[in-house]
């Protein structure tokens, strides 16, 4: 289960609507991968001025060439633009699989998978795994426009239902994907939600799910510099099983969190009652237990 660092040859870089899909040979990562986990890649080559690794959810693994992984990204900034320019046989420095995967329900239940834009990519390997275990799957996919809805065909093929919404109405319903959440939950008799989306969307999903008392497992993207847990960039406040809030690392304690433990409204801040916050006074006894890890479970 330990992540590895490999220098893997790129197989292909394909355009997929507004995105690029990059496939790279990395057997040790492909075999260990569990849905929800991610890789980080070094960008820009040996004399790059870009020091920080870029994180991408693994979208697909294949057995060919001993094991390949694919991730899908938008080429916005300099690092992703560089990645979009890779060609077959270029070597890529990849570390993975990283982070806490989506926990799987013990029983076959009805799962709703909600994704938005590129964030959806992480949900497809999850859907495959859930299907293997015999659960019901419904998909909800949202994005700004049709070319940014990722995987609608595959979602339709895989799932019992696939609900789609775009901000401009160019595919599916017009408006935010969360607008149709209540309806889908009712119709699908959802037991459990998996969500992968930007922070504001996750907040809404969690709030709505709360009304129905539905557990949510949320994949959160926080600003990532290392991806291995050493730089403390990717933090957010998370409740421990002891009721104490700690500043946790999304890259090692997440990226998948039990949504009821994340203090969604306080992301980006250090809440006054967090362990070690300014003014916070320690009980001066035994050290506190570790941050919530493995304590979260789905279903």
């Amino acid at each position: 289960m330990a992540p590895v660092q490999v220098s893997g040859p790129v197989l292909t870089v394909r355009r997929v609507d507004a995105y690029h899909a990059l496939t790279v040979v990395a057997p040790a990562i492909a075999t260990e991968f569990r849905p929800g986990q991610f890789v980080t890649v070094a960008v820009g080559g040996p004399e790059s001025s870009m020091l920080l690794r870029r994180a991408f959810s693994i979208h697909d693994v294949r057995p060919d060439h001993g094991g390949t992984i694919e991730f899908v990204f938008e080429a916005n900034g300099p690092g992703t633009q560089w990645l979009a320019g890779r060609r077959s046989r270029d070597l890529l420095d990849v570390v993975g699989p990283l982070g806490r995967p989506f926990p799987l329900p013990r029983e076959p239940v009805s799962c709703l998978l909600i994704g938005s834009g590129h964030h959806s990519t992480a949900l497809f390997p999850l859907a495959d795994r859930l299907r293997e275990r015999g659960g019901q799957i419904d998909f909800m996919l949202g994005a700004a426009s049709a070319d940014r809805v990722f995987g609608s065909l595959r979602a339709r093929r895989t799932a019992r239902s696939a609900t789609i919404a775009t901000d401009d109405g160019s595919l599916g319903a017009r408006g935010p994907i969360t607008g149709m959440l209540s309806q889908v939950i009712h119709e699908a008799r959802t037991d459990l939600i998996y969500a992968s989306a930007p922070l504001p969307v996750l907040r809404e999903v969690v709030a709505l799910a709360g009304r129905y008392d539905l557990p949510v497992q949320a994949l959160v993207e926080q600003p990532t510099a290392c991806g291995t847990g050493v730089c403390m960039s990717c933090v957010l406040p998370v409740l421990g099983s002891d009721g104490i809030t700690r500043i946790a690392r999304a890259c090692t304690d997440g990226p998948v969190f039990r949504a009821d433990l994340v203090r969604w409204d306080d992301v980006g801040t250090v809440p006054f009652d967090a362990l070690g916050a300014p003014g916070w006074k320690p009980p001066r006894v035994a050290p506190a237990p570790r941050a919530p890890r493995g304590s979260a479970h789905g279903g």
Binding site: Q5, A42, L51, L52, P223, A225, V230, A274, G276
Partner: protein, 318 residues
């Protein structure tokens, strides 16, 4: 024959001069997935304070050209949890632990030093002096020779006599040599330099500072020339004082550069974020660089760049 990388820190022999830089290697556990932490020179811990600390709000980091701007705010578990959990783990893996400590008064540093002296297995104590001196005018200890010296003195008096005390200096001072002298006179057994360089990034999308904390510290290869100059000047002024050179080391050649300027040991920080196996790789590369230059022992070249000529060691590499 491969060059001999062994180095010393106080009376402890290290397998190599390559250390992690404080705050850049997590608890050591994270790195142990990629390298054998017992095989590098030592693990320098993040700066430990008396109490747990949540650190700064995020965003905490921003990428810059060849560097990183960061403001983590010394998030950490506090000394109790550190001793029980992190130090114990490092020792169980056979790693040498240099414990970095931080405080807001000389007394706090001293208290931490006492706690570390009671614990077995601490290789050295590094004083992160880039902390606001609340008893003074709120400026960092590192920016005022007297304040820095006071911390060193308190710690030296409180720490077990056989634990080396290392003063870590900041580059944003009128003259780093003055601070170095003050710390050495106050009993520092070695000096670490440099800590991050104050800097700032504005996010042109939000049109606000990129870090929640506004300003931050610049690190990474971008600052290496600043580190080299600090080491060079300190070595020139205080040739007998061991220096842990830190700042932008990315390759074995970079490590060699700092050693030639006067460092006896070399810390690797930001580049670990880029390459989790950096310390092991740099150690290997350093060995190769030395071997290619027909240098037998890394200790032979400390400060060599100060000598006008060193012909025997000066075979240019092809």
């Amino acid at each position: 024959m491969a060059a001999d990388l062994r180095a010393r820190l106080g009376h402890v022999e290290l397998p190599s001069p390559i250390l992690t830089a404080a705050g850049c290697a997590g608890t050591g556990r994270e790195l142990a997935q990629y390298i054998d932490v017992a095989k590098i020179g030592a693990v320098v811990t993040k700066s430990i304070m008396l109490d747990p600390r949540a650190g700064r709000p995020s965003p905490r980091t921003a990428e810059t050209a060849g560097g990183l701007l960061s403001s983590v705010g010394l998030q950490g578990p506090g000394i109790d949890a550190f001793l029980q959990r992190d130090l114990a783990w490092l020792l169980s893996r056979g790693a040498r632990a240099v414990v970095s400590i931080a405080g807001s008064s000389p007394g706090e540093y001293a208290e931490l030093a006492v706690r570390l002296s009671d614990a077995a297995g601490v290789t050295a104590i590094e004083l992160n002096l880039s902390c606001p001196n609340v008893e003074g005018r709120g400026r960092d200890f590192a920016s005022e020779p007297d304040a820095a010296a006071q911390v060193v003195e308190s710690v030296r008096a409180a720490a077990r006599y056989d634990i080396p005390v290392i003063a870590k200096l900041a580059p944003d001072v009128a003259d780093i040599v003055t601070v170095a002298r003050a710390c050495t006179a106050a009993g520092a057994d070695a000096l670490s330099m440099i800590n991050t360089v104050p800097g700032m990034v504005i996010d042109t999308t939000t049109m606000r500072p990129a870090l929640a904390g506004g300003a931050g510290g610049l690190s990474g290869p971008a600052i290496r020339p600043i580190a080299v100059r600090s080491i060079w000047r300190t070595r020139q002024a205080l040739p007998e004082v061991p220096i842990i050179g830190i700042g932008g080391v990315r390759t074995g050649r970079d490590a060699l550069e700092l050693i030639l300027a006067g460092a006896t040991l070399v810390g690797v920080g930001t580049v670990i974020f880029h390459d989790p196996s950096a310390c092991a790789r740099i150690q290997r590369e350093l060995e190769d660089e030395l071997t290619a230059r027909n240098i037998d022992r890394v200790t032979d070249v400390t400060g060599l760049a100060h000598q006008p000529t060193a012909p025997a060691l000066r075979r240019p590499i092809p």
